[in-house]
């Protein structure tokens, strides 16, 4: 590659990076300004103050929101990993009548947009008494067709001879699943885990419907709350909260990205 071409490419890459990252950097800078400076429309803070971060934790129960989001995301992640891996195991290793029909049923779930089902789901959760509880926020999302497919794809790369040998030597099917299949599929399990955690942490519409108090509300609804209450006066505080909320997912994304890339490459080799 010629030097000129490489140079031009770097210039383009840097310009694009600045444009893509600008909103995040902008929010980051605003979060260190005091109110007067924000209203003057500065971009760079004259002096960096942590007051907004302290205020964000004192004025709203941000810590409680973070805790709720963390618990809910963790529960959904575990639930999806367990439920999906069990189903994927049955679809790959067990042979029984009606399996293909059930598999078709799982495919069919991908055709249903979740928003089209939210009205009866809300009524169901209400009847179960799960409004304003972790149960209502997590259990409806435990089964995930995408998760079943992802894991099924990986399980299929495990040689069937291994399964047969285990059967012959008297290893139970569940033990085979637990001790051999799951450890061999670590990459896919981590990929699915990262995906689950990210999507649940960022969930907006469902928590808006099923929660109305601070005890269970997640960070996203917390942000909505802050934005509608403190508009125009305390943008610095709101931006501090934004930074706190996006930090965990950005870190998870950056940490999980290499893993994702590696998983992709392994898939290509097989």
């Amino acid at each position: 590659m010629s030097v000129l071409r490489a140079f031009l490419l770097y210039v383009l890459l840097i310009i694009c990076s600045v444009v893509v990252l600008f909103p995040i950097i902008y929010a980051f800078l605003i979060s260190f300004m005091d109110g007067a400076e924000v209203l003057q429309g500065h971009i760079w803070p004259q002096k960096f103050t942590m007051a907004n971060y302290i205020a964000a934790f004192q004025k709203v129960p941000l810590l409680q929101y973070l805790f709720n989001s963390f618990i809910v995301s963790l529960l959904v992640m575990l639930g999806q990993l367990i439920v999906s891996s069990l189903a994927a195991f049955a679809f790959v290793f067990l042979r029984f009548k009606g399996r293909d029909v059930l598999f078709f049923l799982c495919i069919a779930t991908m055709l249903i947009p979740w928003e089209a089902t939210m009205i009866p789901n809300f009524l169901t959760v209400q009847k179960l008494g799960w409004l304003n509880s972790y149960l209502g926020l997590t259990v409806p999302f435990f089964a995930l067709a995408f998760g079943i497919f992802l894991l099924r794809q990986h399980f299929k790369t495990i040689p069937l001879e291994l399964f047969e040998a285990a059967q012959v030597s008297g290893v139970g099917r569940f033990r085979f699943f637990w001790n051999i299949v799951l450890p061999l599929s670590r990459t896919s399990l981590i990929t699915l885990g990262v995906y689950s955690f990210l999507t649940t942490w960022n969930m907006y519409l469902w928590p808006l419907l099923v929660t109305n108090n601070d005890q269970v509300r997640n960070v996203q609804i917390g942000l909505k709350q802050m934005q509608s209450q403190e508009i125009s006066t305390e943008w610095g505080v709101v931006m501090a909260a934004v930074i706190v909320v996006i930090l965990p997912t950005l870190l998870l994304l950056f940490a999980g990205q290499k893993h994702l890339q590696k998983g992709l490459m392994q898939g290509a080799i097989k």
Binding site: S17, I43, L111, P113, L198, L223, L253
Partner: protein, 308 residues
Amino acid sequence: MNTSLSMKSSPSVLIRRKRAIWAVLEGMAYLLPSLILFSIFLFYPMLRTLYLSFYATDHQGNPVQFVGIENFVYLLKDANFLQSAKATLLFVCYTVPASVILALCLALMANEKLKGIGLFRTFFSSTMGMSVAASSVIWMFMYNPSIGIINKVLSLFGISDVQWLLDPNIALISVAISTIWMNTGFTFLVLLGGLQNLDSSLYESARIAGVGYWYQLHKVTLPLLSPTLFFVTTVLLIHSFQTFGQIDMLTKGGPVDATNVIVYSIYRDAFINYNFGSASAQAVLLFFAVLVVTVLQFKFAERKVHYQ
């Protein structure tokens, strides 16, 4: 098998049948959690939505009176719904092509072998970690007519006082711009993955033949990438039909319903106006819209595979 031959056939058939039943039971045990959850939170509510769409309902969502297709007939004549359908389609047209083209440019650049390219890949994928709520707060501030950065910059060029989120002619475009930004990370990652999986031997031959960059892009890269492009377009299409968070935070469907996209309209009808029948009818229409897109995707994807 010898033993079963020497025996009378009925016990062995019995054993085989017993085994088959046992196998079904065991398989079901592994599938039961998924099946139960899908039934309660996906199949039942979808059928229930279909059912409710044929009824007038009370404020608790109980069906009161069968009205046939009246909910649908009413919707198709209702100016509010038609506006909502129009806003949704416009929103799809604004966001999907722009998201794909932008992310494709980024992915093509980030696929070059350069020192430190990993850093740029991380930058470009970063919006995938941003939640809709956090992104909306930031964009709301940037769109602020008096202190937001966008109007500050525009005022340098003599353009002043654009009401990004309050002008009915601009609001939908403003929400679309912020959505394109939010889509960038995911679309970029998928397309970069697609580019990295392309067969490098074809590039070797192209290099030996000495073809130019643009020719190679046009004749080799894009045709080979088309399945991935198609996949990501479908996902974005379905995704943009389901847009809600940024509407709720930035415009609340306003001004004068200019940004009242379908899911927001469903939400408002069901959970603010308690009109579950009409909301269900809209949900059914949403279901069919997504169904059509998905079926088309399968049809086209199949053809692509045959032609390769």
